[in-house]
């Protein structure tokens, strides 16, 4: 779904607000109003379900790809916007008991999501850093050049930096020693590489060292339970919309953490959505598929399940192995093999280059939407109490 979708949506929302107001003015019967209200809530459920059905129809090759993540964020923004309108249309009762407690709870959870947005932004920056190293590799093993030892050494150095940077923080110290052994054996030139290991510095995160994405996710999911029948009745059904939005928030944040590197990732979040919600099935199936992905042998220690990171990792590992084992001059066969990998890596790099900026903008957008809706909520809370 293109990014413009939810902008178009806002326009249609202002229209729908207008028409809804007109309805209220023209017809004074409460039944009419009630049915409009019910329709609105039903439409929200249906749209959420449609969006996640669409997202879950993704093929396994595209799951967790940059384009899929962007589509996920677009869906989130649309849901968030619709939810905001629901709150706005029901502002008279939304901020009174028993609903005010649920809304406040939702705001609490969304503030926690803000930190995740910032962490994801750091992660995007991290990927950018990798992209730069890949560009060095591509530059060294450029298509036009004759591939000599020098180019391989240059590429290898960038590959080593990349491999170190891609290792999870936890493992990095242990891995450093390991990499030293596996990369820098043979000749004097590699001992030069050796010296450079100690200089490798990864980007630092903008949060303190003790901050953990896994814990933050758990905090968002904490005590998240489907509303009971009496709650639904007492809140005119809005409790269901709040629960829906809470679940979407949790899932989207969880998927981001799954895909993109950030400090102390962890996917152990309990999803228990009752299957009677129409959107539960697609979300649960996506959840299952992402988990499966994370359990795959070659992904278990990945710093992010993003498709492109996986491809990058695969290409660079293969290239690193070749760089370690090649004999010069290269055989034609070997050279073709290298060129193929480089081409592959170039493609991934191109995809990353194209998608990273828009992705970052979207993450910022999610951040701002959350802030905005919360601010609006707090303002209304003040105003409504005035009318008491």
């Amino acid at each position: 779904m293109p990014a413009t979708d939810y902008q178009g949506l806002s326009a249609s929302i202002s229209r729908s607000i207008l028409s809804l107001r007109r309805d209220q003015i023209h017809s004074m019967e409460p039944t009419h109003e009630a049915s409009g209200h019910d329709l609105e809530l039903e439409a929200f459920q249906r749209q959420v379900a449609d969006r996640f059905l669409d997202l879950s129809s993704v093929g396994s090759d595209d799951l967790l790809s940059l384009s899929w993540i962007r589509k996920l964020l677009d869906s989130f923004l649309c849901c968030q916007e619709e939810f905001r309108v629901i709150l706005f249309n029901n502002r008279s009762q939304v901020y009174k008991a028993p609903l005010d407690r649920l809304i406040n709870d939702f705001f609490e959870r969304s503030v926690k999501a803000l930190d995740l947005c910032n962490a994801i932004r750091d992660g995007i920056e991290q990927i950018r850093e990798w992209k730069k190293l890949i560009e060095i590799v591509l530059c060294a093993l450029d298509n036009r050049r004759i591939l000599g030892e020098g180019q391989f050494r240059r590429a290898k150095k960038a590959l080593i930096d990349l491999a170190l940077s891609m290792l999870d923080e936890r493992e990095s110290t242990a891995a450093l020693a390991h990499r030293n052994r596996s990369f820098g054996r043979q000749n004097a030139a590699s001992s030069r590489d050796h010296r450079n290991f100690g200089h490798f510095r990864s980007l630092s995160w903008s949060v303190s060292r003790s901050w953990s994405a896994a814990r933050q996710l758990q905090a968002i999911g904490n005590n998240l339970a489907a509303p009971k029948a009496n709650e639904i009745v007492a809140t005119n059904g809005i409790a269901v919309a709040v629960y829906t939005m809470n679940s979407i928030l949790l899932f989207v944040m969880w998927a981001l953490v799954a895909a993109i590197p950030c400090q102390d990732r962890g996917l152990q979040v309990h999803f228990s959505i009752p299957r009677q919600f129409s959107w539960a099935v697609p979300i649960l199936s996506l959840h299952e598929r992402v988990l499966e992905e994370s359990r795959k042998r070659d992904r278990r220690n990945a710093c992010g399940l993003l498709r492109e990171i996986y491809q990058m990792d695969k290409c660079t590992k293969a290239l690193a192995e070749m760089a370690d084992s090649v004999q010069f001059p290269l055989t034609e066969e070997k050279e073709a093999e290298v060129r193929l990998r480089v081409q592959e890596l170039g493609k991934v790099c191109e995809v990353i280059k194209e998608a990273l900026d828009p992705l970052e903008r979207q993450v910022r957008d999610v951040f701002h939407r959350i802030v905005h809706s919360r601010t609006e909520g707090l303002d209304s809370l003040g105003r409504v109490n005035h009318n008491d």
Binding site: D115, K132, E135, N196, S208, V371, R374
Partner: protein, 637 residues
């Protein structure tokens, strides 16, 4: 003649090379020295004569091979050197010269590589030791960056010769606002003077080192290793900058941590932030920018990219905290600190602009603007919260004796304090108005303040209702109204609300005074003034006799004075005015009444027996009214 001269020169050069050079490689080295010495001895010309009749292709590749042999020897002696090359300027410039030549050679021969296998093979070899030279350069670059910082750190306590500004680093002084302190266990911790202005730049590296770095960067960019160079550069500087930030007391706090932090602690963090952001944006970032521009002079894109990579993390840290504060609680107590925060960001906007306007940093600058706007939003939110609090403040027990209500005192002093930043507040509310055009000509801040005053008044009115006595209710309104007008008058609020507002509210106090007089004294006055005629007002439907009127006055006056001497008017002036007004009201009527009373036929000579109060008594009683009772007289203010 020129040609002839040159020809001779060449011949001599060849001769020297052949006689001195015991072997081929030595002769080659001598050629190289010549060619370095003067452009006329280009290797092409010299080797052309050597190879003589050989074919063109062969001649080319042989000459390339010779050059490369020479360059390889030159380069590799440095590549394997186990001491820092830049510790000796002769070594370093020789190394750079060889690299220049290597770059030029590769560039010149590259077009011929596709046509000639042997040239292409030579170039592979050239690329190979070019790569080794580049790795060595990268390492030297890193060393220079690190050593530069170290040497600088040692030199620091003795002043900074490189600095363009005059940061005074005086270790005798005990000023607390040190901008850069070591915070470690050294005895020689330099303490800077408090900063009054920020128009200074720091050179984190000695000037000579910067030149060396530039020379290296130039070669690395020319050889296509610009990315590596930028990578080393930014990782070193980033570390330096992040350390500076943490020395400035900036902590890495998450949004949630900021939300959870007690306000007092957060206030401290905001103070630290204000200092750190000023130093960062006015000293550290511009210094980094300058360093970047000097090291990557002539490569603006590499400079911009490196600068962004150096500063991004620190900048994000600065912005994230601002963001977290902006979305925090809107409790009114936060206003003043947030105003400081807002003003700091506002004043830093030109610095964001000048530091972060290139293609890579634009996003950061836009974020800064957005966050600044959000802080304005937060301040508006605080005003809204204040309004809600006033509106919702419940009428609990009435303030005893009709005195000043705490909410009046709180709101007025709050607004007075807020108006010390009225210019900033105007700005904050103007921002808002642009979106919702209003026909009102007055500033949006004064509209806000007037609205708060209105809310306060109606809240007070609601509170006055819980007094059983309508006179006391009016007195309460008088007191609070008087306080409000006073506070408006002697502060900026006056000019914000305008003279009309003050006039209107002074008149309102008068109205409350009138209504006080009405409820307290009208009945008595009526009795005193009434004629004995049939149209006279009466009590309980029957017209009263003179004696009954006297009795009524005596008891009512006594009772009223007894009650109202416990009431309070905190403002002395108002109290005096009201007493005078009461005296002017009561005394003439009483004088008149007494006269009529004494002349009354029905009482005759017994009249004086019923007169309880002399004029002096009445005056004396009036003069002890509104003192709040004996125990608390004069404690109203």
């Amino acid at each position: 003649m020129d040609d002839n001269g040159e020809e001779k020169l060449m011949a001599m050069a060849r001769h020297i090379a052949k006689t001195l050079g015991h072997n081929e490689s030595m002769a080659d080295d001598i050629f190289q020295i010549f060619s370095n010495f003067d452009g006329r001895f280009s290797r092409d010309k010299l080797s052309e004569k050597i190879s003589g009749a050989a074919g063109d292709d062969l001649r080319d590749s042989a000459s390339l091979k010779q050059t490369l042999d020479y360059l390889e020897r030159q380069v590799s002696q440095y590549v394997v050197a186990d001491h820092p090359i830049w510790s000796d300027s002769v070594d370093s410039s020789a190394f750079l010269d060889s690299i220049d030549e290597l770059i030029a050679t590769i560039r010149d021969w590259n077009p011929m590589a596709s046509a000639d296998k042997s040239i292409s093979a030579c170039l592979v070899r050239a690329e190979d030791f070019m790569q080794q030279a580049m790795f060595r350069l990268e390492e030297e670059f890193r060393l220079l960056m690190e050593r530069g910082c170290e040497s600088f750190e040692l030199a620091r306590p003795y002043g900074n010769g490189e600095s363009t500004g005059n940061v005074s680093l005086d270790s005798d002084d005990d000023d607390e606002e040190a901008i850069i302190t070591n915070g470690e266990d050294h005895n020689q911790i330099p303490v800077a003077q408090p900063l009054t202005h920020y128009n200074i730049l720091i050179d984190a590296l000695p000037s000579g080192t910067i030149n060396d770095l530039h020379e290296i960067a130039k070669r690395m960019v020319a050889a296509g290793f610009g990315k590596e160079c930028s990578h080393v550069y930014s990782s070193c500087r980033r570390e330096f900058l992040e350390e500076s930030m943490s020395r400035l007391g900036m902590q890495k706090l998450s949004m949630e941590e900021v939300q959870r932090m007690p306000w007092q602690d957060l206030e401290d963090e905001i103070d630290k932030w204000i200092k750190a952001a000023n130093v960062a944006l006015r000293i550290l970032f511009p210094s980094e920018r300058r360093l970047c521009d000097r090291v990557f002079f002539g490569f603006s894109s590499a400079a911009d990219l490196s600068f962004m990579e150096v500063c991004r993390g620190s900048m994000v840290q600065i912005l994230n905290f601002a963001d977290a504060v902006a979305i925090g609680s809107r409790s009114p107590e936060r206003l003043f600190k947030l105003l400081d925060f807002f003003e700091t960001l506002r004043d830093l906007m030109p610095d964001f602009e000048s530091n972060f306007s290139d293609q890579y940093c634009l996003v950061l600058r836009n974020d800064a603007v957005a966050i600044w706007k959000r802080l304005g939003e937060a301040i508006r939110g605080i005003f809204m919260e204040l309004q809600n609090l006033i509106r919702r403040d419940p009428a609990k027990a009435p303030v005893p004796r009709g005195g000043l209500h705490p909410i009046t005192r709180y709101v007025m002093n709050y607004l007075r304090a807020a108006c010390r930043s009225s210019q900033t507040l105007e700005q904050v509310f103007e921002e808002n108005v642009k979106l919702i055009p209003s026909e009102d000509s007055s500033s949006s801040l004064s509209v806000q303040i007037a609205w708060i005053m209105e809310l306060l008044e109606s809240n007070l009115q609601m509170k006055s209702k819980i007094y059983g006595d309508s006179a006391l209710c009016s007195l309460f309104m008088m007191n609070n109204g008087r306080y409000i007008v006073q506070k408006v008058n002697d502060s900026q609020l006056g000019s914000l609300l305008g003279d009309d507002w003050i006039r209107k509210h002074t008149a309102k106090i008068k109205q409350f005074q009138m209504s006080y007089q009405r409820s307290s004294w009208n009945k008595v006055l009526g009795i005193l003034r009434a004629d004995n005629g049939p149209a006279a007002p009466n009590v309980g439907g029957n017209s009263l006799s003179m004696k009954e009127k006297m009795m009524f006055f005596n008891s009512h006056f006594e009772e009223t004075c007894k009650t109202q001497s416990h009431w309070i008017i905190f403002d002395e002036q108002l109290r005096k005015e009201l007493r005078i007004s009461l005296a002017n009201l009561l005394l003439p009527a009483y004088v008149n009444f007494i006269r009529r009373f004494q002349n009354s036929p029905e009482l005759g000579k017994r009249a004086d027996k019923y007169i309880k109060y002399t004029l002096k008594d009445i005056e004396a009683h009036i003069n002890v009214l509104f003192q709040g009772g004996s125990e608390s007289a004069g404690s109203g203010k």
